[in-house]
Symmetry: C2
Subunit: 734 residues, 2 copies
């Protein structure tokens, strides 16, 4: 027998995936006195009752997402999962019968369905056009099966397992190794799907397959998926644990970024929960020093004050911790991760819990008043399986959140955006990362799939707030090259809330050119808000053109430089994303500071930058070569230095004032920065002087080669000696 405990499948250990027998007893005992759980239960019951009344359909697979058969099968598995939980919690057989009837309909039809007729996927399913969706189905359905296990006769179970579950699991694993044997969110779903059904059926062989992958003789290491991502590197470990190990850094950062972590976190955590409940000896939550639980904290820290995820790599704006997969994430994180009271406040905002043991724990925690705010502080999250492949640095200072990216590539969803940043205030993006070119599930826009502009625009370097050299994207815009490298943390220091520093280096994006960017948040008691100092230092072996864009969002109020507005916009370049930018206006710098003030959401922002004579300033807009209106027509300012070997871009971004269209009063509408000046720049040190309009002056110095916090430095600038310990100093001068 395949059975895990070497006995026949036992009715004594069901349910045991997300609900346990003890959990069900506790839930039943508390029902009616746990408001957030009761509310979720009532809503679920209402929804499922309505669907039971309407009856279900199990149609022959035919459509892509958005189409009837796709959406119906998707609805079916969600309903089965919910009905299964309702059966356990409410002890009402109509829910079990609903699941059973639907499962038997599937068991009757599934064996007759060939491979899905739509050809687009590198791994086609049988119910859906891709194995990924088939895996979704199995992750949910395994929970439903576990819940009604004892309601079924042994013969019924045997029919379902033989006709439906085993062939289903085989299709997405043995028959689709290019899907199952990856380190990728697709494979994570596949592994979790097979693993959860294995646990539901007590099938040791299937569980081993889920945890360790399918043994396959020959595989092609050059094979790629639909998005151009590699299937599998030679020698790469596979299966669930490999999928936990590789994409998560020791800090719990998921290399594809928060948008995909949000999606992936459901199978990771739901399967971990099931494994913990059924086989606690696997110690899944202790794996890699508890990385799955750390990932919950990391993911929540990758959201702005409203809970919207930062845009890193492919990501759609507006995705947030209100997404349903985050309900599980938060509840499981709370239940298995030591009952962090901060998670209760997020669960409360979500207004919903999972209908299982974890959801009960959260509901009881809230009921007991244990809730505390989930405080997000400045944090650096390392990237890479070993945490040594760069990081994301998040500096939080009052209402500002600066997201600075110096990571590895991020697998197939990565962007060529080393050393880029985005800035948020009060949960609104002020200096944006464009995100992806895709309208997920909006069929009119390319079927809701990735649009070609995702590759030609969104992933390109010029679409980001970082350096593009010679109008070519980093790593030649090639995934194969970009995947081999990562940036490196240089300094991350957030202990002093008045001067927080994130500094990183990138030396592979453009061979022969070294980039070193230092971003600083400075709290100055003279002003209402902190401001951002940005020092981008470029050193190259030869002369290049360097473009540094600022994707400010909002309406230009004023510039301190004269620009020549073109009568009609011109296309900025030919390739690497430049073909999607319009040049609207330009100016030549005279070597003095330039300043741009803009208005967004009734707040005034300013960008002040040091220039060299003949630097070019380009006022641009996204939207050229966009035949189907797929792009958003948002503005940018590009500071361009030509024929430069070494270059230093220094700027300050401020949020300095407000406007009210109701009172019509503008407060602090002008920048507070009077003068920015480079007072020293060598291989060893870079020093910038900041003079504010109160005439106070500060100097910020960074040591460019020694990032130790212990080293003592001494430097004379303009006959004044500066001495300090550690890699940087900000000091006021007379």
């Amino acid at each position: 027998s395949n059975s895990i405990d070497n006995t026949t499948s036992s009715e004594n250990n069901h349910p045991s995936l997300i609900l346990t027998q003890q959990g069900v007893a506790a839930i039943r005992a508390n029902l009616g006195s746990i408001p957030i759980f009761d509310k979720t239960l009532a809503a679920t019951q209402k929804e499922v009752d309505l669907e039971i009344e309407k009856g279900f359909d199990v149609p022959t697979p035919k459509d892509y997402s958005g189409g009837y058969t796709h959406e119906t099968h998707k609805k079916n598995y969600v309903l089965m999962q919910k009905a299964g939980a309702l059966y356990q919690i409410l002890d009402d057989e109509k829910y079990a019968k609903f699941v059973k009837d639907m499962l038997f309909d599937y068991a009757k039809k599934y064996p007759t369905w060939p491979i899905h007729p739509k050809p687009r996927s590198y791994a086609r399913g049988r119910v859906f056009w891709q194995c990924l969706n088939d895996s979704n189905w199995l992750v949910y359905t395994s929970q439903a099966y576990d819940c009604i296990y004892n309601y079924l006769t042994e013969e019924e179970r045997s029919t379902l397992e033989t006709d439906l579950f085993r062939p289903f699991a085989d299709h997405i694993s043995k028959e689709s190794p290019q899907f199952f044997n990856r380190v990728h969110n697709h494979a994570t779903w596949g592994n979790a799907a097979v693993g959860m059904m294995a646990l539901a059926m007590d099938d040791a062989e299937l569980l081993d397959r889920a945890l360790n992958g399918v043994k396959v003789e020959n595989f092609d290491p050059n094979e790629k998926d639909n998005d151009g991502g590699y299937i599998r590197k030679d020698g790469q470990k596979i299966g669930f644990f490999a999928n936990v190990n590789e994409p998560f850094s020791p800090d719990g950062y998921f290399t594809e970024g928060p948008y995909y972590q949000r999606y992936a976190s459901y199978p990771f955590l739901i399967f971990a929960q099931a494994l913990q409940n059924k086989q606690p000896e696997q110690k899944v939550f202790e794996y890699k020093d508890g990385v799955l639980l750390k990932s919950v904290n990391a993911l929540l820290n990758l959201s702005d004050v409203d809970g919207d995820f930062f845009l890193l790599n492919d990501a759609q704006k507006g995705m947030s911790y209100y997404n349903s997969s985050l309900i599980s994430t938060v509840d499981i994180g709370y239940h298995f991760g030591g009952n962090n009271p901060g998670l209760l406040s997020i669960a409360k905002k979500q207004g919903e819990v999972t209908l299982d043991d974890a959801g009960l724990a959260v509901a009881l925690g809230i009921k007991a008043g244990k809730e505390e705010p989930f405080v997000k502080k400045s944090i650096e999250l390392s990237d890479g399986a070993d945490g040594d492949e760069g990081a994301v640095g998040i500096l939080r200072s009052d209402d500002l959140e600066l997201v600075y990216k110096y990571t590895a590539h991020g697998l197939s969803h990565g962007h060529f955006d080393k050393l880029s940043f985005a800035l948020f205030e009060d949960g609104d993006e002020i200096v944006q990362d464009y995100g992806m070119s895709r309208f997920v599930n909006i069929e009119q826009k390319g079927g809701g799939n990735y649009l070609k502009e995702n590759k030609t625009w969104s992933k390109q370097t010029i679409a980001h707030n970082t350096i593009t050299q010679n109008e070519k994207s980093q790593f030649k815009g090639k995934y194969d090259i970009g995947s081999k490298f990562h940036s490196n943390t240089y300094v991350f220091s957030s202990d002093n809330e008045n001067v927080q520093v994130a500094s990183a280096k990138e030396e592979n994006a453009y061979p022969g050119t070294k980039l070193h960017r230092t971003m600083v948040t400075i709290k100055d008691e003279d002003y209402r808000n902190p401001y951002i100092l940005d020092i981008m230092r470029v050193s190259s072996e030869k002369s290049n053109q360097y473009d540094l864009p600022l994707y400010y969002l909002g309406h230009i109020m004023q510039t301190n430089f004269e620009y020549n507005k073109l009568s009609t916009p011109q296309i900025l370049g030919k390739s690497d994303g430049y073909q999607h930018l319009y040049k609207e206006a330009s100016a030549l710098a005279n070597g003095e500071n330039i300043k741009l003030t803009w208005l967004l959401n009734n707040k005034f922002y300013s960008y002040s930058a040091i220039t060299s004579t003949n630097d070019e300033i380009i006022l641009g807009r996204i939207g050229a070569n966009d035949p189907a209106y797929n792009l958003r027509n948002e503005p940018t300012l590009i500071l361009r230095k030509k024929n430069a070997k070494d270059a230093l871009f220094v700027s300050i971004i401020e949020s300095h004032g407000t406007y009210s269209p109701v009172t019509e009063l503008a407060e602090d509408a002008y920048s507070n920065v009077k003068l920015l000046e480079v007072v020293y720049n060598s291989e060893k040190y870079t020093a910038v002087k900041l003079v504010m309009n109160t005439n106070t002056a500060k100097v910020f110095i960074i040591s460019n080669l020694d990032n130790s916090s212990e080293t003592a430095h001494k430097l004379e600038i303009n006959n004044k000696e500066y001495a300090w310990k550690g890699s940087f100093i900000l000091t006021e001068i007379k």
Copy 2:
């Protein structure tokens, strides 16, 4: 003596403008038990106490708005008004002393100040650059004086009145008849200023001047103000009552539109309140059948569900009934207008009341739980002193608000936009009126004043959702011509909430061409939202080009027609606003319905329109010839018919679906309109057939010549006879 009651000024009748002796007693008796009043009082006290501590300044006038002397004098009058009220309510002499000290400083300096040095105004003040601001000063200061009247000795009062108030009032009236003797919001402020000080001082001569204007021998009827508005028509009545009579229609609509009504309503109502308190025999609130009180209701009805005013004529977006002048408007409207409980709910949202008798009445009403929702229904507000110069028709249907403009010109703030409309859903503009080109009080943008684009773009016809003929604005874009005419209501019917109709005609905008537009909101039980049917019928004596833009806001999702996107945008035309539009793409119609679906605020909207073969469809964007980034780069779709004498533009606008970036689900993303068809069109009748995707079909017929609701009509279309009573019918067909 000049005294009104032919006695010397009496201490027995102070305060008596906005606070009365009885009012003060009642306020003092209720303090501490009237939360909204107590809260406002505490905030005011805190603010004034802080200023008393800091001390005040009365600087020599020098600056335009935004500058120090301007802002300081403005702050001073507001503070005096507040301190005066605090003195009465709290009976604390420090407030009276503060007002007295400041007034004496003004009394000492004012006589030494010549005309204000800044030359921009057609009527320069002495404290401010324009008499308008001097009048603001006096309106507020008269209230302060009234409050501390009894605190002053007769000699002190004599000094203030002789050295400050009378010369001040004389300057803005006798010495500035081009300002004072107008029918214009400027003159309203002037009249109210002089009138309120007259009441405070008991000066009958001054009061007569306020109510009836200054007698001047010769005036120039061709004289214009800074904005190009006429000063005064020959034979026009002047003074406060004339200013109430002319701009307000019998429905209380203010011809300049809600943005300026909001501004003007303060002097109208604050002076009316003072006049009512002091000279009830004037029956000011009964004047013109109670038009001042009706204006409160009209103004509130000209706001969307959030309280933001609709954009009619010059108007800045975001102005709302939260503006401070609306606090008085609502409180006075409640106190003197029969205690409408709906106003209490608005006062409650405002969270603030005036510190006077009216504010007390509101606070007591709220305390007594009398509050009811302020329900805004469909309403037509006539324009013109006699209500016969067209109207604004507002159709409200579920969450949609359609604002259809067929008014008179709107004085110097009018736009050339006859028969234009705007559409709101849930308080957000979906199809926009651009508003004005001005960033009020944002000094960086042209000093916060009107920008030149206001004239070259915002006022022009093509900037609006109405017909432009031959690329020329209505009335040749000339104020002198536009001011002579108005559109006419044809039908306004809102009794049947399923079919509401606003229909109007314009026959002067383009001589020889007649425009007749009918807008219909249709509630159809098959769909979640009502939709808008729009029939624009054009008849001309000769062939013309007709452009009908749709200023949709949002991102294009899909069109059902192929368009040719230009590689770089082209400027659409040479003048009349066309020079500010970019053509981005175009298409030629093949005679079938065209459809545009767009996404805004996560809602899907569609525009479906009937076309004739070779109609041109232009996808455009605002922003050409905008050297200083003064314009917003928003999109439009223009349907262009060339070489046409008569033309019929028929379209439907729907709000049909929603998107969530959190669940990533798109619901009802597609238009429900299958086919729109003109089935009959003659001089007498126009009939349109609407086929929906449920295959239900409806016919809407309008009688083009007879708008009586009593006439019986009979019409045969396609062998089917339609018989109905009244000017229109919507009927389902098989």
